[in-house]
């Protein structure tokens, strides 16, 4: 294999996770690391997320999104990482000890080989259609990410008056972008009876930006033949319908891992999270292929994705050293109302794994929840949480669990919630 196309580690995706993984991996002496990024510049989502608060846990500093993206890119390049932008990875295959990475770019259709591959393809928001929001299909219905790209990357103001659908953190990020672009916010619409972000956030945003958060409201119609002219919402407690005039609808959150490449590459998928299935070493179920960042879960913040990237970079290095022994993987199965846990596998016995690694989500709000992990009939861990809210990070301290050295074959850890009456 020619040295131009053989690398020790290839990283797919140049967002916070991929850049951090590459940077750490390149610090291993003599390791050649290549990052493929399909956009014109590396950096991922923060490139167009122009507010501060990025990098707190990984770089211990508050950056704006674009400067965080630039900073991570520089750190990777300074560590000796090669970055190829405008290059899409279409498929990753294995052949003996090699991974083959198939790409397309203006240079042509090219294949590269590597000993290990790290997938860091990130996540996106759910679309209007995947959420089954009915009505016409006018222009002016966008996700937050698209809005940000218009405003921050293209300097295009894509509307005048917006309604934001959803109330996760990112919905408030959308409000900031709308405001920055000089657009008005008519309302925020949330089908549940409570905001999914923090109450103080929604409370202060409503007052500061002067809009109303309509709880218990679902969208029942979208109007406009050419451009959006308004939406109809229904209060699910009273069945009352109201028309809201707007020319922009921002469909926010309900993040979905960008698993297209993983699917094309036949990697095992965790159906609950619709994400790549990995273990405590962020090793997928295919040897030599790792995954990190929001391709594992939709969505963690950028700094968590970056820390995961570093962990994956270290583990990929250990894999090259042949120090990643044949793992004993145990699957964690979630019972409703737990939506999913990520990573979906645990390596037993549990070794030294970072505390931020495991995270879960619930499908509805639960008060006084106690989360329990059972393994082979035995309770291995139990913790009381306060109120659990959908779409919010719930850290699961798997690093504190004790699992027997020899987990029984075919058994799995069952994660469930006990609700206080």
């Amino acid at each position: 294999m020619s040295s131009a196309t053989h690398w020790d580690i290839i990283v797919v995706g140049g967002g916070p996770a991929g850049l951090s993984a590459a940077m750490v991996a390149a610090k291993r002496p003599g390791t050649r690391v290549l990052v493929f990024e399909r956009e014109e510049a590396a950096g991922g989502i923060p490139r167009h997320c122009d507010h501060t608060g990025w990098g707190l846990r990984d770089l211990r500093w508050s950056y704006s999104g674009p400067s965080y993206a630039r900073r991570l890119t520089k750190l990777a390049v300074d560590a000796g990482v090669h970055i190829l932008t405008d290059t899409t990875v279409r498929k990753v295959e294995s052949s003996g000890e090699d991974r083959i990475v198939h790409t397309v770019s203006p240079r042509g259709i090219q294949s590269y080989t590597a000993s290990a591959v790290i997938l860091a393809t990130g996540c996106r928001e759910s679309t209007r259609h995947s959420l089954l929001l009915p009505g016409k299909r006018p222009l002016g219905v966008f996700n937050t990410g698209t809005l940000q790209q218009f405003v921050h990357l293209k300097r295009i103001v894509p509307g005048t008056v917006a309604v934001v659908f959803g109330s996760e953190h990112v919905a408030f990020s959308a409000v900031m972008t709308l405001n920055k672009a000089g657009m008005k916010i008519a309302a925020m619409v949330e089908p549940d009876g409570y905001p999914h972000s923090f109450l103080p956030v929604s409370w202060s945003f409503e007052r500061w930006y002067g809009f109303r958060l309509l709880l218990n409201c679902r969208i029942v119609n979208i109007h406009g033949n050419h451009r959006l002219t308004g939406i109809t919402v229904e209060d699910t407690t009273t069945n009352r319908r109201t028309d809201l005039a707007c020319d922009t609808l921002i469909v926010s959150g309900a993040f979905k891992p960008e698993i297209t490449l993983a699917v094309e590459s036949n990697l095992p998928i965790d159906p609950a999270a619709d994400s790549v299935l990995a273990d405590s070493f962020l090793h997928t179920e295919r040897k030599g292929i790792f995954a990190c960042g929001n391709v594992l879960h939709g969505a963690e913040t950028g700094d968590i994705a970056a820390l995961e990237g570093r962990w994956a970079g270290v583990q990929a290095g250990r894999y090259l050293d042949n120090r990643l022994s044949e793992p004993r993987r145990v699957r964690i199965e979630c019972a409703a109302p737990i939506a999913w846990i990520s990573p979906g596998n645990v390596i037993a016995p549990i070794l030294d794994i970072p505390s931020f690694l495991y995270t879960m989500r619930v499908t509805r709000r639960i008060r006084n929840a106690t989360v329990v992990a059972r393994f082979g009939g035995e309770t291995v861990w139990k913790k009381r949480y306060g109120t659990l809210t959908p779409h919010r990070r719930i850290a699961v301290p798997v690093h504190t669990w004790t699992l027997g050295a020899d987990p029984g074959r075919n058994d799995m850890i069952r994660l469930s919630i006990e609700e206080a009456a």
């Binding site: 399909r38 405008d86 899409t88 279409r90 397309v104 770019s105 203006p106 240079r107 042509g108 259709i109 996106r124 928001e125 679309t127 209007r128 259609h129 995947s130 089954l132 009915p134 009505g135 016409k136 299909r137 006018p138 222009l139 002016g140 966008f142 996700n143 990410g145 698209t146 790209q149 218009f150 990357l153 293209k154 295009i156 103001v157 894509p158 509307g159 005048t160 029942v220 119609n221 979208i222 033949n225 050419h226 451009r227 020319d247 979905k256 960008e258 297209t260 699917v263 159906p271 619709d274």
Partner: protein, 474 residues
């Protein structure tokens, strides 16, 4: 203002009008294709099940059954020349109860009358062998090998592009308000002034009744019948291999599950009579009906993510057949009420129109130098430009992927902005390239595409986004 003068004007650039213009472009005639919209195929012809019907289940001895049959053959013939993607996946009609089961032999007989002779009756065992993901409870079925899927976007574009390349004038954004008879000619009063022609062909779809009345007739009324659809993620494609059909009723062909040439799976359509001819909205009820129907047919499908939803309106009339009228006296041809089979029959209709033109005093002299325009492939099972090393070698921008979900390259987007029939809006880009039609529906690429198009079309980003009043109604 001087009126533009033509031998023939085709009113309506849906798949039917485009097919007629295509047919007429082969002869030495002055022809115009006219539509209120700024692009062809932007009403019913963009929102259907995309099935190329054999016509096996058509009511025998109708105009529809004859033209679907003819259209099917001609579509297959022209597909290889024009680059229309076709996959002959076959249909599998399922009987879910005794009543349906006993109706199967009758369906086979009827198909024979319609000239479709290769149907086979299948046992429950073979139904499940063919489609293992189908819900339990099927009592039997019929396989219709000829049923095919195609690209509903490419068809009208292919016909119209060839027509325009061979001299047909494309009068976009031209709404017909009134038609006056002046001696032996028609004067069309349009939103862009007077258009004058000898023969008028009405292919106005949902509005074909209104045009018909403008010509002084009063013989049918179009009552739109809405059909809603849900399209599932490409991962669902491996769940089925056939178009899975219910036993049709008098009113509708029923809800089907079909693969698409983009590699997705489609569920629909519903059938609801509505009033408003512009109401192409999906509804809470329609979508939830589809979801529960889908769960009953194929539970595994409903576990897949949803890529998109849409609705189309069938131009149903009080009569069960096409409203095809040849009026040599009035120099007028009406091709109305083409309800639920118009894509399949379009080239059949076009041929029928051409065959009758001598009755209208038209001499058909073949046009020397006529050329067929071959479309760039946007379907999944044929090579796309970005999959060809050779093409990327010649044009590196074929290797620059802009729409990641559907793998559309920068060069394809730019090409959609140019050529004989350039896109005039984002929907036009979608229909020409598939961009923004995938999993993320433009999350990753829409801002970029608006930027690219504003540099390659004479339109600002704002008007592409429908903000500044665009010059014509899109």
């Amino acid at each position: 203002m001087n009126a533009k003068q033509y031998d023939i004007v085709v009113v309506g650039a849906g798949v039917v009008g485009c097919a007629i213009a295509f047919e007429l472009s082969r002869f030495n005639l002055r022809v115009a294709l006219l539509d209120s919209r700024s692009d062809v195929g932007s009403v019913t012809s963009k929102a259907n099940s995309a099935i190329l019907h054999t016509g096996f289940d058509a009511t025998s001895d109708t105009i529809e059954s004859a033209l679907v049959r003819k259209g099917y053959q001609r579509f297959h013939h022209w597909s290889s020349i024009l680059g229309l993607p076709i996959e002959k996946v076959g249909g599998l009609l399922i009987a879910w109860d005794e009543e349906q089961l006993v109706s199967l032999p009758g369906i086979v007989e009827k198909a024979k009358k319609n000239g479709v002779t290769d149907l086979t009756v299948e046992s429950p065992e073979s139904v499940y062998a063919l489609e293992p993901q189908l819900s339990p409870g099927a009592l039997g079925g019929i396989r219709i090998p000829g049923e095919s899927i195609t690209c509903t976007f490419t068809a009208p574009l292919a016909f119209a592009t060839t027509a325009v390349r061979n001299g047909v004038e494309w009068l976009k954004g031209t709404h017909v308000h009134r038609v006056h008879k002046m001696d032996t000619r028609h004067q069309l009063q349009t939103s862009r002034g007077i258009v004058d022609c000898r023969i008028l062909i009405n292919a106005a779809g949902l509005f074909s009744d209104e045009i018909d009345r403008m010509l002084g007739f009063d013989r049918f009324t179009v009552s739109p019948r809405k059909g809603e659809f849900v399209v599932f993620d490409k991962r669902a494609r491996s769940l089925l291999s056939h178009i899975i059909l219910p036993v049709p009723t008098k009113k509708t062909k029923g809800v089907l599950i079909a693969p698409t040439v983009y590699g997705n799976v489609l569920l629909g359509p519903t059938a609801d009579n509505i009033q408003d001819k512009s109401d192409s909205s999906t509804t809470v009820e329609g979508l939830s009906n589809l979801m529960s129907k889908g769960t009953r047919l194929m539970p595994a499908l409903l576990k897949m993510p949803i890529t998109t939803t849409y609705a189309g309106l069938r131009a149903a009339t009080e009569n069960s057949d096409y409203q095809l009228f040849f009026e040599p006296q009035a120099s007028y041809i009406c091709v109305g009420g083409v309800r639920s089979t118009g894509m399949s029959s379009s080239l059949g209709i076009a041929e029928a129109v051409r065959e009758r033109l001598p009755d209208f005093g038209i001499t058909l002299e073949p046009k020397p130098g006529w050329i067929a325009h071959r479309m760039s492939n946007i379907a999944e099972s044929f090579e796309r430009p970005s999959q060809s090393s050779e093409r990327i070698g010649l044009h590196p921008e074929y290797g620059r992927i802009v729409c990641h979900c559907e793998q559309v390259s920068l060069r394809e987007i730019k090409q959609a902005c140019s050529g004989p029939l350039p896109a005039t809006n984002l929907d036009g880009i979608r229909r020409r390239t598939r961009a923004m039609l995938g999993r993320c529906q433009g999350f990753y690429c829409m801002a970029n595409i608006v930027d690219i198009c504003s540099n390659n079309l004479e339109m600002s980003a704002e008007s592409l986004l429908g903000m500044a009043d665009p010059k014509e109604k899109a």
